[in-house]
Amino acid sequence: MTVDLSVDLGRGLVLPNPVGVASGTFGYGFEFEELVDIQRLGAIWTKGTTLLPRAGNPPPRVAETTGGMLNSIGLHNPGVEHVATVYAPRFARWRVPVVVNVAAGSLEEYVAVVRRLDGVPGVAGIELNISCPNIAHGLDFGRDPAAAARVVEATRAVTGLCLVVKLSPNVTGIGDVARAVCAAGADAVSLVNTYVGMKIHLGVRRPVLPRAGTGGLSGPAIKPLALAAVAAVRAAVRVPVVGIGGIASAADALEFFVAGADAVQVGTASFADCGAALTVLDGCAEYAARHRLERLTELRWTPPADRAEPSAAPTSVR
C-alpha cells in the first residue's frame, strides 16, 4: 500500500506532500536551494511580500528565549515587482510549489499585491498574512473578523489563485476570525503566526528588541499554544487547515494532524537544521506506512460535542 501524502488546498493548489516551510524562515528558497533538496518539500511559503521594497526594522531584530526566538524583522523584502519578475521565473522551473506570502498595511495594498501575482507563472498560490505583529497596522486586519473578511473579499475578487489566509493567534476568538475569512472566500487557513512576546535585559533594564520592545515568538515554546489554536479552528471551519508552530520533528507534525491539520509548515527549526522539514517529511511518511494509514488526516481527533448529553448506556449495542 502506498500512502497518498498529497493535500488539495483548493483551486488547483495540490501539495505533493503535507510538509512545507513557513514564511519568513526560508526566504524565497534560494539560500536553502544551495544547502538541501528543496524540491522534495510539500511547499515553500515565501517571506512576507509587500507592494514596495521594505528595508525592515532597525536591529537588533532577533533574540533567543527559552525554547523559542523573538523576531522583529519588519517585513524586510524586495517588493512584489521583484518577486514577480525576478524570482517567479525561477520558481516556475522548480517542482516544489511556491506560495507567496502577502503582507500589507492597507486594503488597497493587499489588493494591488495579489493582483500583481495573479496569473504569474511560478506562483502556485497566495498566503494572505493578516497577522504580522511587527509592522504598524499589521495585526489590525487579523484581530477583527469583519476587517479580515473585507481583505479576503477584496483579494478574492482579483485572483483565481488558491487563497490561504494566515491567522494570528493574538486574538480572543481565533475560530471567529477563521469563520469570517472562510465565509469571505478563503480556500484554506494557516496558523499560527507568531505570538507577541518580549525579552528583557535586566542588566540594562529594558527590552532587548527596539521600539516597543516586542517581537513575534516562534519555536518549540509555542507548540502547545499552536495545537490548541489549530484544534479551535478545526472545530470552527471545514476548509483545509495548515498547522504551524514549533514543529521540529515528525512527532510534532503528527500531533498537528491529530489536532486537525491537513498540512503543516516547519519554521524556526530550519534555522538550526537546514534539513529539518525533510526530516519531518520522511518521519511522517514512515509513520503512515508503519501504521498503515492511507492519509495522515486519519489521525484526526474528534473532540466531544460542546454540550454533550450526559453519557447514557449505549442502547444500540447489545
Binding site: G24, G27, P58, E64, G67, M69, T268
Partner: protein, 286 residues
C-alpha cells in the same frame, strides 16, 4: 537577499558536518579555545569566515551560534570563545570525543593582499579570526603581519604565541585598559603610527571599538591603506541569509540594511553607517 548591493557569501561552499571535539582548553581570564575535527570547513575556510556551531541539541539552545574560524591545522578547526551565555556555556562543558555539528564556512571574509604589510586590530574576543588570517596573509606573500591586540586586562589577552605560531613574520603588540600588560589604553590608539606602508588593515572587536577605529582612520585622511576592513557582529538567527535577523546599517543609501551573515561579517570600513551603528544597543544585549 538578492536586492543587496555588495557581493554575497557563497553558500555553495558551506556544508553541514557532524564535527568531533578534539580539545577544550582554558586560556585564562575566561577565554577558552575549542579544537574540532571538521574536515570540510578546515579545507574551505578563508580568513574572517565563520561557522555556525550547534552548541547543544535544540531546544536548548534553540539556535546555532556563529564563531570565527580561528585557526586550521589539518582537518581540525579552532574556535575561541568566552562562556557567557546559554550556548557558550554548553561549549565550555564539552569534552574531547563529543559531537559538535557545524555548518560552514559562512560569510564574507577579509581581502588578502598579495604582498606588503598587514595590520590586524583585535579587541578582546575580536582576536578570533587573526591566527588564521595572519597565516594566510603570510602564505600570500605579505612581508609582515602586525597584530595589535587589546583587552581589559593582561589575563584576558589571547596568548601572543597563538597568533604567530612560530612565524617570526607575525608580530604582536599588546594593550590593556588597566595597563597590566603592554600599552595602557585602547588598542585603537596604536593604529595611527603603524599605517605607513600598510597594504591592508583588518579589524575585529566589539562594534564600539570598530567605530573608534573608523574615527581614527577618518582622521588619518589621505594616508589610508587600500584595504580597510572590519568584522562586525550582529545577533543571528540562521547565519545564511534567510531569517533577515542580522541587519546592519550601511551607507549605500535608501536606509538599506545589510545582512551581517552574507554581506559580512567582514565589510569595508567605508560601507558601514557608523553613526547609525553607534546608536544601537550593544550586540551582546541580544
Amino acid at each position: 537577499m538578492s536586492t543587496a548591493a555588495a557581493p554575497l557569501s557563497d553558500l555553495g561552499r558551506a556544508a553541514d558536518e557532524r564535527g568531533e571535539v578534539t580539545a577544550v582548553e582554558h586560556l585564562g581570564g575566561g577565554l577558552m579555545e575549542l579544537a574540532v575535527r571538521l574536515p570540510h570547513i578546515a579545507a574551505a575556510a578563508r580568513p574572517g569566515e565563520f561557522a555556525q556551531l550547534r552548541c547543544g541539541p535544540p531546544p536548548l539552545p534553540l539556535l546555532r551560534r556563529p564563531f570565527s574560524v580561528a585557526w586550521v591545522e589539518g582537518d581540525i578547526c579552532g574556535f575561541v570563545f568566552e562562556p557567557v551565555g546559554e550556548g557558550t556555556r554548553r561549549l565550555a562543558a564539552l569534552h574531547p570525543g563529543d559531537e559538535l555539528p557545524a555548518l560552514g564556512p559562512l560569510g564574507v571574509g577579509f581581502t588578502v593582499p598579495a604582498g606588503g604589510r598587514v595590520l590586524c586590530v583585535a579587541g578582546g574576543l575580536g582576536c578570533a579570526p587573526f591566527p588564521l588570517a595572519a597565516r594566510r596573509a603570510r602564505e600570500a606573500g605579505c612581508a609582515e603581519v602586525l597584530v595589535l591586540h587589546g583587552a581589559a586586562t593582561a589575563a584576558r589577552l589571547y596568548p601572543a604565541g597563538r597568533f604567530s605560531r612560530g612565524d617570526a613574520g607575525i608580530r604582536v603588540v599588546e594593550a590593556t585598559d588597566d595597563g597590566s600588560r603592554g600599552h595602557r589604553g585602547y588598542v585603537t590608539e596604536l593604529v595611527a603610527t603603524e599605517l605607513a606602508g600598510v597594504a591592508a588593515v583588518w579589524a575585529c572587536g566589539p562594534n564600539p571599538m570598530l567605530g573608534a577605529l573608523a574615527a581614527v582612520l577618518g582622521d588619518a585622511g589621505a594616508a589610508l591603506p587600500p584595504v580597510v576592513e572590519v568584522s562586525l557582529e550582529a545577533p543571528m538567527g540562521c547565519g545564511f541569509g534567510t531569517c533577515l535577523g542580522c541587519a546592519l546599517p550601511v551607507r549605500d543609501g535608501g536606509g538599506r540594511f545589510a545582512l551581517c551573515c552574507r554581506e559580512g561579517p567582514v565589510m569595508a570600513v567605508a560601507a558601514v553607517d557608523w553613526e547609525a551603528l553607534a546608536l544601537l544597543p550593544p550586540a551582546h544585549v541580544a
